[in-house]
Symmetry: C2
Subunit: 253 residues, 2 copies
Amino acid sequence: MTTNHPTAAILIIGNEILSGRTQDTNVKFIAERLDKAGIKLLEVRVIPDDESAIVETVNTLRAHYTYVFTTGGIGATHDDITAACLAKAFGVPLEINEETFTILQNHYKESFNASRQRMALMPRGSELLKNQICTATGFKIENVYCLAGMPTVMQNSFTLLLPSLKTGAPFVSNTVKCDLREGDIAQALTDIQNAYVSVEIGSYPFYRTPPDIGTSFVMHGADPVAVTNATNAVIAMVEQFGGTYTVDWFCKK
Amino acid sequence: MTTNHPTAAILIIGNEILSGRTQDTNVKFIAERLDKAGIKLLEVRVIPDDESAIVETVNTLRAHYTYVFTTGGIGATHDDITAACLAKAFGVPLEINEETFTILQNHYKESFNASRQRMALMPRGSELLKNQICTATGFKIENVYCLAGMPTVMQNSFTLLLPSLKTGAPFVSNTVKCDLREGDIAQALTDIQNAYVSVEIGSYPFYRTPPDIGTSFVMHGADPVAVTNATNAVIAMVEQFGGTYTVDWFCKK
């Protein structure tokens, strides 16, 4: 595995994912960008909108990783409990964030009712995380970033906060897609993996409508020269086994 | 939350999800079917192809939930370490499963090389989980079901194993989609939630291209009468606030 990279976890707070109603897309969006920023995403968890689950999981994750990104539960309704849970997790009061209160008041004017005022409640010590889509009140406390669940809003907030994070050498990856079966090349691939220990080599077979059957090899790492050399070794292996292939090179994107 | 329902966790073993390369779809597939079977999915985790992470997470999850479903890491290559990790987690030897060995041998014949023979290695006490797509060697040990990462194969295996699980009263859900903003109805919605404690009421605002802005309310629970009554209360609330709406009723699917 890599060293000297900041690490991260994503915590999806959402009954709608656990019931199967909603296809999550927030993980992929955040994961791709962390990877390019050289921040190693090491864990994702999806948990219910449940106080004890949120408090316990946040405290576990924030102790283990450089950054924790949560999505969901920051609106105006009864099921939006992220801010209250984070206050509990950090052992600080939940209180009105004045900056947020003013922004919401100016936006909602006469519609700034008690439910919307609740959206200005944040754990003491939080900073508002803005977005350019709506008035959703994401916030950051220490190394935990609490974002909206709605993808458009989450994406905008995350894009705005990303430059403030400590980053590492960017991860890059090449993909070699070929028509060989992984069981035929497994030993040769192991030899390549052993020769390039700084590169994670993944083997992903696919069985679609014949003849669309084969394997994709993904070479991923923070050393672009090693990733390129490992990719060339995999290409040579595919040629040696008589396979045909296409390559998706990171440097041509 | 619900009572008397079997519980479950999903464990996605996959560097390709954590690097952002791959959009996971296995969670939604399994989650939807567990929900209909009355099995309460309470947690999802995504972790790397890393022995200590797998062993530790499997042991945590299997102690907490009725069922654990893992996906990924059961092929023929060096990155396929699920079986070895499960043996370690359960403290049992990793050994040839004779049934699996015979199936693989009959399928691959003269191509049944050392790498493919490795696919017949399972923790002692495992049962093979079959699928109708390919020879991928999913297995079950106690309450842990280890499935392929490839969606087509995972889906087929899961569909075949589902009837063997202990189930509960099926969960159902109705969705009311309307053009109201959640901040306007939050208090009224809280009152409905308090009146129907057996129903989880979720509020999901959406901000798409105007005028496609509003909120979806999801009423979810194992008591279809309570879910229906809560839905009717939400509809009455939307009408009272002058909203227009559509309803997706579970009973009309």
